[in-house]
Symmetry: C2
């Protein structure tokens, strides 16, 4: 593996575990067994490293999400597919999804939050568009539905990270069912 890739991998491990502000570039470079100028050669700055990491690892999730959310007349099917995309991604990229969760909830004036803002917006936009097409008679609620659906997905993924559940098809069905029909059903 070339140094660039190693740097991104080690950065992911460290940032996901301890956070953007708590980890220094020195430490990341050392973990990748290179020196700081190498890191700055590839990424220009600490922020550039974070941006690159987020962009490169987020891209496949976004692609799959767009596919799963393409509306064809069956909203429950779409929601089930979307949940599947998230579960699959979180299962195979647990560390990165953890990082995504932390930057998504970082303080609003922190660098990490700024770096993650548009990733969040893109996910919400896709989901909102799905709800808009599927439920055209419910104006004003689409944004709320997109956020609550993603929120429920994230709760289930967090549960899985804690080892309480497995992200299998059964749980996937339960999550979507709970979103559509609630717990009293």
């Amino acid at each position: 593996m070339d140094n660039r890739t190693v740097l991104l991998d080690r950065a992911l491990e460290l940032l996901a575990a301890r956070g953007y502000d708590a980890v220094g570039v020195q430490e990341i470079a050392a973990a990748a067994e290179v020196t700081k100028p190498t890191l700055y050669h590839y990424f220009g700055s600490k922020r550039g490293l974070l941006d690159t990491l987020l962009a490169e690892r987020f891209a496949p999730l976004h692609t799959d999400l767009c596919t799963a959310a393409a509306y064809q007349g069956d909203l429950p099917l779409n929601l089930y597919q979307v949940a599947g995309v998230y579960f699959d991604f979180a299962r195979e990229n647990g560390q990165f999804y953890g990082l995504l969760m932390t930057v998504r909830h970082a303080p609003p004036h922190s660098e990490a939050y700024q770096a993650a803002l548009h990733l969040e917006r893109r996910q919400i936009a896709v989901l909102e568009s799905l709800f808009t097409q599927a439920l055209p008679h419910m104006e004003g609620r689409h944004h709320r539905y997109a956020l609550t659906f993603l929120g429920m997905i994230n709760v289930y993924i967090t549960l899985a990270v804690g080892g309480d559940i497995a992200l299998d098809h059964e749980v996937q069905h339960q999550a979507v069912h709970q979103f559509m029909y609630g717990v009293f059903s």
Copy 2:
């Protein structure tokens, strides 16, 4: 106001805006117009300051939460009351609730997360106990219900912080209704 209180207030502002690791004790002390030894006199360490801040401002929320979650045979009523407690608290302590959200989702090996762990656990325990009493025949799902309910509350509060909605009684009812019966109802 005495220096201790001013320090806590300024610390809340700064930490909520930029995060625990990005704000130095020097800056907090300067914002409170005192010097570092004063801060260290009251709180012993940076971590001690965070612990104190979280403990003191979280206490009233926890008290109200316990009251609202005391089960008396009507789960929907309890959920409605709990949502009310959170909405009221978030409306009156927006900055602190924001801080609570960031530390709750901080990286697992960060100091901020360690400091917030038991606060989170105490909230979940109260809600879990409520679900256990109200739905004794659904073993294994109480934890999930507690987390998804709190998750939905937090999504609505986040929406309100963004200015999209107001945390009034109507939204409070909508949130609880969505949790109980889903979006297809």
